[in-house]
Symmetry: C2
Subunit: 349 residues, 2 copies
């Protein structure tokens, strides 16, 4: 009741056309940077001013319906509260927004059914493409997107060898990261090294375990002797449980984990067991999440380039959508070992 009733209806292209004394098509051309060359500067100016005066904003819905491109990209994440993903999503959103695209976000919660539903909903929304940060291998998203004709890009997740080869991926060389972690522990004198792996069905877990094995082999250590555990999820709670199981058998002086959250869970279990880090056990993580330098003890971990991954994925997808650029290739960024205080030289008992 401030003034009279404000018009709740947004001005349309027809209103602008009327105000500028031109046809709607001309307005459309004047608003499209790619087509503004096709009309006279005088008319373009008149239209632009009329549009500004009316506060005209083209309806993306209508434009999308007509053009078939909604300038919208869906981003699928398994769990936004896992600190790995926010920097990735933020970089994606930024890159997308810079080119006028809107980001559709959805949590799959690692649920296959939800994943299917989300992909379908995004397709129904007219999303032009998908970025999949969902780690779950074997999820229906890749195949479904292909079937729906939705361009798809993977981030923080390797291209599954068996599945559709047209999916580009942007991730880290996970195996290299774990080889570096193992080499570091070996250099410190550790010989009996365990691995706390990620959940089954994730490419990252497989690759990191593979890197662990390669690292042991490179050091001439016995693979069969290495204690292994597999966490049920990339979470602190799951890491604690897996570490407890590992400790029950024992026989190792250092452990590599597939993920910083798992490492935090390992800290929990070690604390409960009265084992000091790194005095009684050296621990390494993966990802270098924020605050890993402030936990007790500061975690030796493998730093990956979250933001770069996100940016590259977004740009690759945009390139594919515009079709102007040559198709991008998958990239595996090189991670970097960050040595802190959770690892120490092996002290013989």
């Amino acid at each position: 009741m401030n003034r009279d009733a404000p018009p709740p209806t947004r001005p349309t292209i027809a209103d602008v056309a009327r105000a500028a004394g031109v046809h709607a098509s001309t307005v459309s051309r004047a608003m499209d940077p790619a087509a503004r060359h096709r009309i006279s500067d005088a008319v373009a100016l008149r239209v632009t001013e009329a549009a500004a005066a009316l506060g005209y904003r083209p309806s993306a819905l209508a434009a999308g319906l007509r053009s078939g491109r909604s300038r919208t990209v869906g981003v699928l994440v398994p769990d936004l509260t896992n600190p790995v993903f926010p920097p990735i999503v933020e970089a994606i959103e930024q890159s997308l927004a810079a080119r006028g695209y809107v980001t559709l976000l959805a949590n799959t919660a690692g649920d296959v059914e939800r994943e299917r539903l989300i992909v379908e909903r995004m397709a129904a929304q007219g999303a032009d493409g998908l970025i999949l940060a969902s780690a779950a291998r074997g999820g229906p998203a890749v195949a479904l997107a292909a079937r729906l004709g939705l361009p798809l890009v993977l981030v923080n997740r390797r291209l599954p060898p068996g599945e559709d080869g047209s999916a580009i991926s942007f991730g880290s060389d996970d195996a290299a990261g774990l080889r570096a972690a193992v080499a570091h522990l070996v250099a410190l004198g550790h010989r009996r090294i365990a691995h706390l792996g990620g959940p089954a069905g994730t490419a990252t877990a497989a690759d990191r375990l593979q890197g662990f094995r390669e690292g042991l082999a490179a050091a001439g250590l016995v693979l069969d002797a290495a204690p292994l555990a597999q966490a049920s999820a990339y979470s602190r709670a799951a890491g604690r449980v897996a570490m407890q199981a590992l400790l029950a058998t024992g026989g190792f002086t250092a452990i590599t984990t597939a993920n910083d959250l798992l490492a935090m869970g390992a800290y929990d279990a070690l604390e409960e067991a009265g084992i000091a880090v790194p005095g009684g056990m050296s621990v390494t993580g993966f990802n270098d999440m924020p605050l890993m330098d402030r936990v007790a003890p500061p975690l030796t971990t493998v730093r990956i380039q979250h933001a770069t991954m996100g940016r590259l994925a977004a740009e690759a997808l945009l390139g594919r959508l515009c079709g102007t650029e040559e198709p991008a290739e998958s990239v595996r960024l090189v991670p970097q070992l960050v040595v802190r205080a959770s690892t120490a030289a092996y002290a013989s008992p």
Copy 2:
């Protein structure tokens, strides 16, 4: 080249109508749960089967264009890498998805111009409503959304007294949280307490400072003597800088901070200054982010209900969009002090 060319064009409502031998409007009715009562069960079944056989998914674009509701909600966040926001956003997305809504995510990066652009873009996208987690007060979003007729809900941010009173907000009782922190420090024997505040122009910073003052007053302490600093952002780096400034003058044995990230920055500065926590300085945070129990020393902080806030905000907005439910009221959840090891009894020098 697996088989022959798969039809890249999705089936439309007309295809389903043809396949089921009915008119398109009948299909529309059959797909709409609210209108299915108006057609015979036999026809509804035939239509449903035809739709399933063709893999028909209604175009949300076309439906939105026609109906004016896109089943889309925009979520604005200042900085997704601030650990406060992921749980909020996740809860929002979940609540929205449960009711068939899609989440549009955007980072404002605390930039007023970006904020304006994003709101306009979401309006252009046909978003049915907005959820603003952006902390910046005085940003154009609230007014702009009102002008565009976009329902808006605030989360983790109090209703600004001066601005449009129609905006509902879901946050914490920030002042109460800080009062509790101060009371805790006073009970430990501290008398000279400082406050490391949040950035200017955020409601949370103002409310928490206010709570700090109320806490001092309640304890009968002198307000004027309390050292105050204002961080330039809710970030660890900004917290470190502000703490350095505070330490330069000194004269306090405990400090409350407006945010856990700021507390982490304070840790950094204290470490550099060679001051032990809590031996030489007691520190409290705000938010109880993940891992605050694992940093060194574990942080005494104020826990807020991120997920509940997000869920309530989403449900309030949905209620307003559907119009069926009575308009929700703003809620201020009660935070809870979590005492850990960053605070200790005052030890006279």
